[in-house]
């Protein structure tokens, strides 16, 4: 094996700055070997080290009575009582999915599933938050088709239901789509496992698939800006093998029923390197590994390649000494590779040998704790104020409000997402009680009365205009969505998708969004227990809209009190919670964007304290069984929420007529589509009204009775009226129509 000479230039090609390279030489007291350089480059990459984000991530509330595991592990864990807990995390797979949509999205699912079952949890649900470029961009159709079938291909095969998500289209994603995937698993308190390599002398075990030259530099790729060349790069994209992952899942859960293991971690980004160094770092130990013992798929692999390979479906295990054969037996039963490749040492050094030589010898702390941390300069973009300016009076009034209403319901952002989620098995494991199509999915937890509600949300137009407010609103909307199903928000995972953090404007967006999210989380008293940062979502210098997607986990103590978003029953009363919030708030609204082609204005006011009371009210009303339905008002405001409550009903569309809660003086189109936050459209049987109003008063929520469910039309009195079936047709065909996919 001839070693490549390590030069500052080579370090630069590995994405290391001159300072970082000097720091490495100082730590090592010599020039690093090429393998060591590779190890530093991936461990110090943005993706693994969070070097630009750490200082700000600290601002999230991460503690709380329910928190069993906060950030820093493979997934966060929240107590749900009765000795049960949920482990969950969200991950991005943006760049790979743009290069190869099917495999990129598929391996994204595979990765996040491993993060959850490595903690000992059985995954029971997936969510996917997707953002594509302009719907008429030449590449969009191809990307949508590939990403959706990739998620379906992996999730369906391994048998974890995909129960919810989002799909948005915006030109800021033309060259950088976002594929964020969330997984939640259930685990008993006494079955939680962590990624630690404790116990000097314990064996370090490699299990799963063999190692090939897959995605070498994937981790650094995820931390680099795009240029045209990326599309020609040698396959940095890996192929997923959901079948092997299914075997790995069952084998790991079977192993975890024994007490043979000390720690376990999946080999994700930076594969063997990150898993081994992170596990040793958590335990304050070291390790000695012999790469000749690593199961290999390709010939003549170098230590550099073996340490950096991102081959999928692999795990690193530290077992109790003497229990190796027990572990081996389980993995052989499941037809998986198994190899003891080293042992835990006490000297805090990671030693890697191959061919009888030491190829890397690095202090664990040097690559983990001592990784660079940057507090990068942040500055408000000059253009920011200009974007906020908007003269409402100059907006032309639409000639025909019923047509505008249908157009809004049929636009890709609003339209039925059934074409997407119908490709996902959202029922498998028979826990999904509220299927995709409502504000939040609800799953039962077998063996208990409890239910879990899930929603993922982010309005990136709000975040572009005001990242602080946008960050707050992302948390508020996701909390509102789970509360509309009757659940209490108990935990957050997030995926922070931004541009190049070396640019002060981007850093300002990032910092502001986090501070907004943190503020809202505090109001709801929900901890952020896991998440992921994806920087460098830029093409040719143009960044995406700041997109901090928020996945909210909600808990129902009694799943039989769950709610759906659609009207159920002729004659039920329709009420609006938060009705006092009735000043025009059109900044960044769907209406402005869709009908007037503008993304400008001040986004709606965020009032986390009000939203927290609103969620408390919804939960109380649900548990007292006072409600027939609850639907939050989001994109498209009151008119679209009303129409959705009518047309999303699985049993077929139903009519409804309501009064206009806005002051006379306000223009009809504004009243229909104004996006004031903190509002929820409710329906209840007439005999429950008194109790409902009393409950609202307890939580100081202003309610207004607007009308009743029934008839064949969706109507806002004195403004517009559309036949319910006609409205449903507009909504149901919107997405497939725009993408040119058959129904």
């Amino acid at each position: 094996m001839r070693e490549v000479a390590v030069t500052p230039e080579l370090a630069r090609q590995h994405g290391l700055s001159a300072e970082e390279y000097e720091r490495i030489r100082k730590i090592m007291g010599r020039d690093p070997s090429v393998t060591e350089l590779g190890i530093f480059s991936v461990m110090w990459s943005e993706h693994c080290s969070y070097k630009s984000s750490r200082v700000h991530l600290k601002k999230f509330p991460t503690k709380g009575p329910r928190v069993l595991q906060g950030p820093g592990e493979n997934a966060g864990i929240i107590d749900i009582g009765d000795g049960m807990a949920v482990a969950f995390k969200m991950e991005s797979h943006n760049h790979p999915s743009y290069i190869e949509p099917y495999q990129g999205a598929a391996t994204g699912v595979g990765g996040i599933l491993r993060d959850v079952f490595t903690m000992g949890a059985r995954p029971i649900a997936l969510l996917d938050s997707l953002r594509f470029g302009r719907i008429d961009h030449p590449r969009t159709r191809y990307l949508v088709d590939g990403v959706v079938s990739g998620i379906a291909g992996y999730g369906n095969c391994i048998g974890v239901p995909t129960v919810g998500g989002e799909v948005y289209f915006d030109e800021s994603y033309d060259g950088n789509i976002l594929v964020n995937v969330f997984t939640l698993g259930v685990v008993r308190h006494d079955r939680i496992f962590r990624g630690t390599a404790s116990g000097v002398g314990n064996p370090v075990i490699y299990v799963g698939s063999k190692t090939g030259r897959d995605g070498i530099h994937g981790a650094t790729m995820a931390s680099e800006e795009f240029d045209e060349k990326s599309e020609e790069k040698r396959p940095t994209v890996q192929v997923g093998d959901p079948f092997t992952e299914k075997l790995l899942l069952e084998a790991c859960l079977e192993l975890m029923k024994t007490d043979a293991i000390v720690g376990i971690q999946d080999m994700g980004a930076a594969g063997l390197t990150s898993s081994s160094f992170e596990m040793a770092s958590r335990a304050g130990t070291g390790f000695l590994m012999d790469l000749d013992l690593v199961p290999q798929r390709e010939e003549k692999m170098t230590p550099y390649e073996l340490m950096l390979s991102e081959s999928q479906e692999r795990m690193l295990i530290v077992a109790k000494k003497g229990r190796e054969d027990e572990v081996r037996g389980i993995f052989e039963k499941w037809d998986l590779d198994f190899s003891v490749i080293g042992e835990v040492t006490g000297d805090g050094i990671g030693r890697v040998r191959m061919g009888g030589r030491t190829v890397a010898e690095i202090p664990i702390a040097a690559v983990t704790d001592d990784a660079p941390v940057y507090n990068r300069p942040a500055a408000r973009p000059e253009g920011q104020d200009a974007m906020l300016r908007l003269d409402f009076s100059a907006l032309p009034s639409p000639a025909d409000l019923t047509e505008t209403w249908k157009r809004m319901m049929g636009c890709p952002e609003m339209a039925d997402k059934r074409w997407v989620y119908r490709q996902y098995d959202y029922m498998i494991r028979t826990n999904t009680l509220v299927l995709p199509g409502s504000d939040a999915a609800v799953l039962r937890v077998k063996g208990t009365k409890k239910g879990i509600a899930l929603s993922v949300d982010c309005n990136s137009r709000y975040c572009l205009l005001d990242p602080y407010v946008g960050g707050m609103l992302a948390v508020c909307e996701s909390a509102r969505n789970v509360a509309c199903s009757g659940a209490e928000p108990i935990g957050v995972s997030d995926c922070l998708n931004f541009g190049n953090p070396e640019k002060p404007e981007i850093m300002w967006q990032f910092r502001s969004a986090i501070e907004g999210m943190a503020k809202a989380c505090e109001a709801f008293k929900v901890p952020v227990v896991s998440g992921n940062v994806s920087f460098y979502n830029e093409t040719k210098g143009k960044g995406i809209n700041p997109t901090p997607t928020v996945a909210m986990v909600g808990l129902l103590e009694d799943v039989s009190t769950r709610l759906v978003q659609w009207f159920r029953q002729e004659g039920d009363l329709i009420l609006l919670a938060g009705a006092d919030r009735n000043a025009v708030e059109l900044g960044g609204s769907l209406y402005l964007n869709e009908v007037h082609g503008k993304v400008s204005g001040t986004p709606p006011e965020a009032d986390p304290a009000h939203e927290a009371r609103l969620c408390g009210f919804l939960r109380a009303a649900a548990s007292r069984r006072l409600l027939a339905s609850a639907h939050d008002l989001a994109e498209g405001g009151l008119a679209c929420a009303l129409a959705e409550a009518c047309v999303t009903r699985p049993a077929g569309p139903i009519g409804a007529a309501i009064a206009n809660p806005f002051p006379e003086s306000i223009r009809a189109d504004f009243a229909m589509f104004s996006e004031n936050q903190g509002r929820v459209l409710l329906s209840c049987p007439p005999d429950k009204k008194t109790g409902l109003l009393a409950t609202a008063a307890e939580f100081r929520i202003t309610m207004e009775s607007l009308g009743t469910v029934g008839g064949t039309a969706v109507e806002i009195e004195g403004i517009a009226r559309v036949d319910a079936q006609e409205m449903k047709t507009a909504w149901a065909g919107g997405l497939t129509g725009a993408l040119g996919f058959g129904g």
Binding site: N156, C157, I158, G159, F243, K246, W334, M427, I428, L435
Partner: protein, 233 residues
């Protein structure tokens, strides 16, 4: 009553079938690993859905080679009731226990949705006592549910009344519009000549409890139980 739920590498509806049989119907359901080569002591066999061997090569192709399938064949030859659901149906086709084959859905998309089935034969163990022409609401979730058989095989199936379920609409019309995947003759489930081996693409185990949105799937399992009881007497 002892029911075997087969588990192959990649089976993933095994727990759902087990849950429906044991916790909903209170039957003595047991998992049976695919390397077992005997099924003695069982009253019925369920081959659950999933992606055995990742559905690589062809769906059901590698699973048919597992030792347990020899035992299933003997169990079926002895007249024992066998139901293959989704991937289980595909395995029965690949192993020749049922005629025909599955190809990709016309839409070339995985489809997860509720569909309606018309029950066309109330004599086989699994529809025993379900009046024929009853309409069942049961979900499908598959990429390869487009049933194919050559002309002779088809007319034989139709002639012997081996077509057990057809896709229909809510009102019971068996029409092209009600056909989710392009299956010839809207076929959703067939049985062997003896009637004791049923293959169906829809998932009865997913709708055996009211709160799942339909409990019609339970009717198929209870029919099987009733049939076994009557046979026992």
């Amino acid at each position: 009553m002892k029911i075997a739920v087969l588990v192959f590498p990649g089976s993933n509806c095994d727990h759902d079938a087990y849950h429906a049989l044991r916790h909903v119907l209170g039957l003595d359901a047991c998992f049976v690993w695919h390397k077992e080569d005997r099924l003695t002591g069982y009253d019925a066999v369920v081959i659950p859905g999933g992606f055995t061997y990742g559905d690589y090569l062809r769906t059901g192709a590698m699973a048919k080679l597992s030792p347990v399938m020899g035992a299933v064949r003997r169990f079926a030859d002895g007249g024992g009731p066998v139901i293959g659901i989704c991937n289980g149906f595909q395995i029965l086709l690949e192993s020749g226990l049922l005629p025909g084959a599955m190809i990709a859905n016309e839409s070339l998309k995985f489809i997860c949705d509720y569909v309606y089935l018309k029950n066309e034969s109330s004599t086989v163990p699994f529809t025993h006592g379900i009046p024929s022409a009853s309409i069942l609401k049961i979900p499908i979730a598959h990429y390869q549910g487009n049933y194919y058989a050559d002309r002779e095989t088809l007319s034989a199936l139709e002639g012997n009344g081996q077509v057990v379920f057809r896709y229909c609409d809510e009102a019971g019309n068996v029409s092209p519009d009600a056909n989710p995947n392009g299956s010839v003759g809207n076929i959703a489930g067939i049985c062997n000549a003896g009637g004791n081996v049923l293959g169906m693409m829809p998932h009865p185990e997913r709708c055996s409890e009211e709160e799942m949105g339909s409990a019609d799937g339970r009717r198929i399992f209870t029919s099987m139980v009733r049939w076994l009881e009557e046979k026992g007497r």
